[in-house]
């Protein structure tokens, strides 16, 4: 384990930013946001960012190709932007876990090369939580807020930042930072214990997942509670867009007047034109769309991934839903 004094954080960020683009959560007028580091940028103290860290690997809009049409000739141009090396600092345990979930979708055959390239070029530096909040329920999904994954895990103690490499990529980055000092492997134990103690006291930490999983399909699918749960859903896509694990996208062609640009963008199962086919839509009511989202997180995904749930308990949907409907309410209602 390595360490650096908190007073020297700027030095550390400057050294990382010297060779790679560095992004970290910075406070804005309304919540924290991942921002490119520049001299003087201050690391946010917020529990989490408003938008998730998935944007780095799976951006909302991404160019794929363009087509040039001349007479009967069509030329296909690869417009992919090669990912540059970058470092994301301050990722929380929940978001770090979400990368594993995205990996399980995008890095299995056939590999999504756009996503894979970003994953290869990105180094994730996580930061253990010190002030989890009431909307956090990562513990329910087996995530330890005090022991975040990532290429490098970090902990903040009273006066210093502790760093531990978990991967070769992380080790290489740490090795390149000469200002780091050695630290005891047990140096983070006190802060870890403190975090875990708070997590125990969080109101949603003991949210039960017993009623969910790949084998609970028919009981949950046919539940008569979906109607009342979804009755006030507005069919907006806020929950899906702030969610770190929502991974659906749509590929669209844009007619520029002199060619075609093909891009992909986030899609939301809450939308009426989600998975629109020639015959129409498979899910015609909002109840069905609403059910799809939660069934995917709590049943379909675990069914295909050894019981791992597709939610990491970051609580973003709880904060941004316009009508305050969310996965916790859904789970408690379905179980009750």
């Amino acid at each position: 384990m390595k360490k650096i004094a908190l007073t020297k954080l700027d030095e550390l960020f400057a050294a990382i930013a010297a060779s790679k683009s560095l992004y970290l959560p910075v406070d804005t007028e309304k919540g924290a946001k991942y921002t490119a580091w520049t001299e003087g940028a201050k690391l946010s103290e917020a529990t989490n960012t408003v938008r998730s860290a998935k944007d780095f690997f799976f951006p909302q809009v991404e160019d794929m190709a363009s087509f040039k049409v001349e007479g009967k000739k069509i030329e296909v141009i690869d417009t992919r932007k090669e990912a540059e090396d970058f470092v994301v600092f301050g990722v929380r345990a929940c978001d770090a876990k979400s990368f594993e979930i995205l990996d399980s979708v995008y890095l299995v055959d056939p590999v999504d090369s756009y996503y894979a390239s970003r994953r290869e070029h990105g180094v994730v530096m996580t930061l253990a939580c010190s002030r989890p909040t009431e909307t956090c329920f990562c513990k329910a999904f087996g995530i330890d807020a005090a022991e975040p994954a990532g290429d490098i895990s970090c902990w903040k103690t009273e006066d210093s930042l502790l760093l531990k490499a978990n991967t070769e990529k992380g080790q290489a980055l740490l090795d390149s930072l000469s200002m780091l000092e050695d630290a005891e492997d047990t140096a983070a134990d006190a802060v870890k214990a403190a975090t875990r103690e708070i997590v125990e006291k969080l109101p949603l930490s003991n949210l039960s997942t017993d009623a969910f999983g790949g084998d609970k399909l028919s009981a949950l699918f046919d539940s008569d509670k979906w109607e009342s749960l979804s009755e006030s859903c507005l069919a907006c896509g806020t929950c899906t867009f702030v969610c770190p694990t929502c991974q659906c996208y749509d590929i669209r062609d844009y007619d520029t007047g002199h060619g075609v640009k093909r891009f992909r963008c986030w899609d939301s199962c809450m939308y009426s034109d989600f998975t629109l086919c020639a015959h129409g839509n498979t899910r015609t009511t909002q109840m069905q769309r609403f059910r799809q989202r939660f069934m995917h997180k709590l049943v379909y995904y675990p069914a295909n991934n050894n019981g791992v749930f597709g939610c990491v308990g970051c609580g973003r949907c709880m904060r941004s839903c316009p009508i305050s409907m969310n996965i916790v309410k859904v789970m408690k209602t379905l179980e009750g």
Binding site: R131, F241, P322
Partner: protein, 324 residues
């Protein structure tokens, strides 16, 4: 207030006046009630009304337009304007709705509590203007007035404009609310500054459509932006132009129909100041065509579906500014 509302709802359900009640249901925490439909007296157990019941319930009434039976709805002043507007547009049928007006002195915004340091909220108690927030990291005593949602700070009217019965004292209009102050500030800027301001705001948009879907004026069965055949359907703003276009067109489509309920800005997860677009239209229409408040009166004719022979020419926009 909550208990009185619950009691009236139970009575009206029990005597068959209404078949369903549209209200709010308590949430996981003290601050997250959800709009809900209650069909039995027993289910009203979960009914809640507090400082966090901000949702405008009017739009949900469209859903019941084609359903049997009368719906009881609780409308706050803002919501009652929206109701009138929906009535004007024949999106609700007056006879099918039983309206109980509830006075409102502003709703508390969760994010304002967070700004004041309330993280790890375990409980909230309100006593008059005092809000006591119990958190994992200590207790906070906050002033309600300082925690009100942005829209409540420039509330145009405390008056419920349409109701069958009113609980408590009905309020009055508030013409000195200063709701156009920010619009005026923007108008006083140079075009370059305004452009920068709006790029800063609109570039935050993630196109989640929350503003559109919560808007009581956005009541189209199918939005032009969702229609793949329209040629302009978008799922994400793939270019800054599309960010601008979506918000200009949305504001335009509700121009003259927007009652300024402020739901768009309240629900925006990116906190874009969307109400400033709508207020610009309201202000400009007031100046060009005379004062008009959408929803103040059911059946009124909005400025954009009306005209006079001697209306100003569009070029007035340019000369007006030059005159400043």
């Amino acid at each position: 207030m909550q208990e009185v509302m619950k009691k009236r709802a139970s009575e009206l359900l029990a005597d068959g006046t209404v078949v369903r009640v549209l209200g709010w249901k308590n949430g996981e925490f003290a601050y997250d009630p959800t709009p809900a439909v209650f069909q039995t007296v027993e289910s009203l157990e979960a009914f809640v009304y507090n400082d966090f019941c901000a949702s405008n319930l009017s739009k949900y009434l469209i859903k019941f337009l084609r359903q049997e039976g009368k719906t009881l709805v609780f409308l706050k002043p803002c919501d009652s304007y929206s109701f009138n507007q929906l009535l004007t547009e024949h999106r609700v049928i007056r006879e099918n709705v039983y309206i109980i007006g509830v006075p409102c002195d502003g709703k508390v915004a969760e994010d304002k509590l967070r700004e004041k340091g309330a993280e790890g909220i375990l409980g909230i108690e309100t006593e008059g203007d005092q809000i006591k927030v119990k958190t994992l990291y200590g207790d906070l005593d906050l002033n309600k007035k300082e925690c009100l949602g942005e829209r409540c700070l420039s509330c145009k009217s405390h008056q419920v404009v349409v109701f069958d019965e009113m609980l408590g004292e009905n309020g009055e209009e508030n013409p000195d609310c200063g709701r156009f102050d920010m619009v005026e500030k923007l108008e006083a800027m140079t075009p370059e500054q305004r452009f920068e301001f709006w790029r800063g705001e609109l570039s935050k948009c993630i196109r989640c459509n929350a503003c559109r879907n919560i808007c009581p004026a956005c009541s189209c069965e199918k939005c032009v932006f969702d229609n793949p055949a329209s040629g302009i359907s978008q799922k994400a703003a793939a270019d800054s132009f599309e960010e601008n276009m979506f918000h200009i067109i949305r504001a335009f489509h509700v121009a003259g129909r927007c009652t300024d309920c402020g739901e768009c800005s309240r629900v925006c997860p990116q906190h874009i100041l969307l109400h400033l677009l709508n207020r610009k239209f309201i202000k400009e229409m007031n100046e060009c065509y005379g004062e008009y408040q959408a929803g103040a009166e059911a059946g009124s004719r909005a400025p954009l579906v009306n005209f006079t022979m001697d209306d100003c020419e569009p070029s007035i926009i340019y000369t007006k500014e030059a005159g400043k």
